[in-house]
Symmetry: C2
Subunit: 222 residues, 2 copies
DNA sequence: ATAAAAAATTAAAAACTTTTAATAATTCTT
DNA sequence: AAGAATTATTAAAAGTTTTTAATTTTTTAT
C-alpha cells in the first residue's frame, strides 16, 4: 500500500514509516503542508495521514484543497488532544477519521484498515434505474430514503436485478432464492414478492416487478 | 468492457458484437477455437462467450486449456438445446454459466451481468487468521463449514475486525453496532458477544475475542 | 359472459432474533 | 481471603421474519 505521512515531527513520521515498512507498505513523508500538496498532485496514495498543525500550510487547508481538486483518497487526521474541538470541522471538510495523539502504531493501522474497508464498502452498491441496492447493509437507497430489506427480500431483489430484462419463473426463484431442494406447496414466493414490491414502491415510487401470467416475473430494465 | 465472442456462426457473432457496441462494450470475435485461445493469450477480457461446437478446437477443449493455464476470466458457454447433457461437464470444467440457443441479446447481457456480479461478490470477503467473513452472505467461512450470522452478530464481528488489535470499550460497541444514541441499561453487548463467541468458536476452534477487565474487548490479531 | 387457472391479498401460526432480567462466575482491590 | 465490581451464563419476554392457509382478485380461454 502507498501511504502519505504528512507530519512535521520527524520522530513520529519516521517511526510510522518504519512500522509501515515492516507491514509491507511503502510510506512517503511530507514535513510540511506545501510538500504534502505537491506529493498528492504527483502520486496516487491509498491513504493519507494528515497532521493538523503543520508549517506553511496546515492540515485543514491541505484537506480542503485536495478535496476541492476532487481527490477522494481516504484521509485520517492526526490531532493533539487540545485540537479535539476541531474534529467536526475536519470531518465536515472531508476527513474520513481522526486519531488523537499520542497514538500506538496498532491504532493507526486499525483506523487505516477501517477507513479502507469503509470506502471499499461504498463500492458494494448495485446501481439501478432510480435507486441503489447497498449489498453490505442490505438497504434500498433512493434519493431521499433508505429502506431496510429482510434476508429473503434482499436475496430476491438481488436475484431479480441479476436477471433484469429476462422472465424468471417461480420455480427458478424457489431454486435460487430459497435453495435448490426446496419445493414449496405454498405461495411463499408470491407473499415475498408482495412484500418486496411494497418496499420498492415506497422507496422508488416504481413497480419494477411485472407479472407475466403463466410464465413468471419480469424485473423491468429502464 | 472487453468481451470475447468465440462463435463460428458469423451471423450470431456479428449481431452480438453490434449489440454490445450499442451498450458501450467492445467485443472481439474468434471464429474457431484455435483463434480464441490465441486471443485469450494476448488480451485480458472481462468475460468470454464460448460456443460449444466450434471448428479446430471445440468449446470444452478451449475451456479446459485456459483454466489449466490459470485464466480466471468468467466464461459463459453457448450451447444448442441438444447439448444440454453436457452442461454438467461444462460447469465442472470451469464454466460460470451457460445459455441455450436460441437466445435473446437481453438474456446474454443479463447472464453476463450475473456472472460478473458473482465474481465481484467473491472479492467481498474479509480474510482473517483462519477464517473468512463473507460480507454479502454474512457467513463465517472456515475450511470445512459455513456459519450464518444474525444481523447483530455480523455487525459486531465486522466492527471487531475493523479494530483488530485495539481494545474497544462497551460504549464504543454500543455506539457503532447498535447506533450512536443507544444507551443500554441492560447487558445486551455481553449477550451478543457470547453468541458471537460461540459461533466463532464452532467455526474456527479459536477464541478471538478476549476480555480486558474494566476496559472492554480485544479482537486478537494473529 | 363464464369458468378455470393463476396471482394477489390478508392474517394467523411457526420459527427465529433481539432484548431483558435474574443468577453465577470471575477478576480486582484492600 | 473477603467484598465489590465486572463479566458470563441462562432462560424467558418481546419483537421480527418467514411460512402457511384461506379468501379475493385478475387473467386467459372457451
Amino acid at each position: 500500500m502507498e501511504i502519505l505521512i504528512a507530519e512535521d515531527e520527524k520522530k513520529i513520521a519516521n517511526s510510522l514509516k518504519k512500522s509501515f515498512a515492516e507491514e509491507g507498505h511503502h510510506a512517503i513523508i511530507a514535513l510540511d503542508g506545501e510538500k504534502a500538496l505537491e506529493l498528492i498532485r504527483e502520486i496516487v496514495f491509498d491513504v493519507i495521514l494528515l497532521d493538523w498543525r503543520m508549517p506553511k500550510v496546515n492540515g485543514l487547508e491541505v484537506l480542503k484543497t485536495i478535496r476541492k481538486n476532487g481527490v477522494k483518497t481516504p484521509i485520517i487526521l492526526l490531532t493533539a488532544l487540545s485540537d479535539i474541538s476541531n474534529k467536526v470541522e475536519a470531518l465536515n471538510a472531508g476527513a474520513d477519521d481522526y486519531i488523537t495523539k499520542p497514538f500506538s502504531f496498532e491504532e493507526v493501522l486499525a483506523r487505516i484498515n477501517a477507513v479502507l474497508r469503509r470506502s471499499a464498502e461504498e463500492t458494494n452498491i448495485i446501481k439501478c434505474e432510480n435507486f441503489n441496492l447497498d449489498l453490505i447493509n442490505r438497504v434500498i437507497v433512493s434519493s431521499d430514503k433508505k429502506t431496510k430489506l429482510t434476508d429473503k427480500e434482499f436475496e430476491l431483489l438481488k436475484y431479480f436485478i441479476s436477471k433484469k430484462g429476462v422472465i424468471v419463473s417461480k420455480d427458478e426463484l424457489c431454486a435460487n432464492v430459497w435453495g435448490i431442494n426446496f419445493n414449496p406447496h405454498t405461495n411463499i414466493v408470491e407473499v415475498t414478492i408482495k412484500n418486496l414490491r411494497k418496499k420498492l414502491e415506497e422507496a422508488t415510487c416504481n413497480n419494477f416487478i411485472k407479472t407475466i401470467y403463466g410464465e413468471g416475473y419480469l424485473f423491468i430494465s429502464e
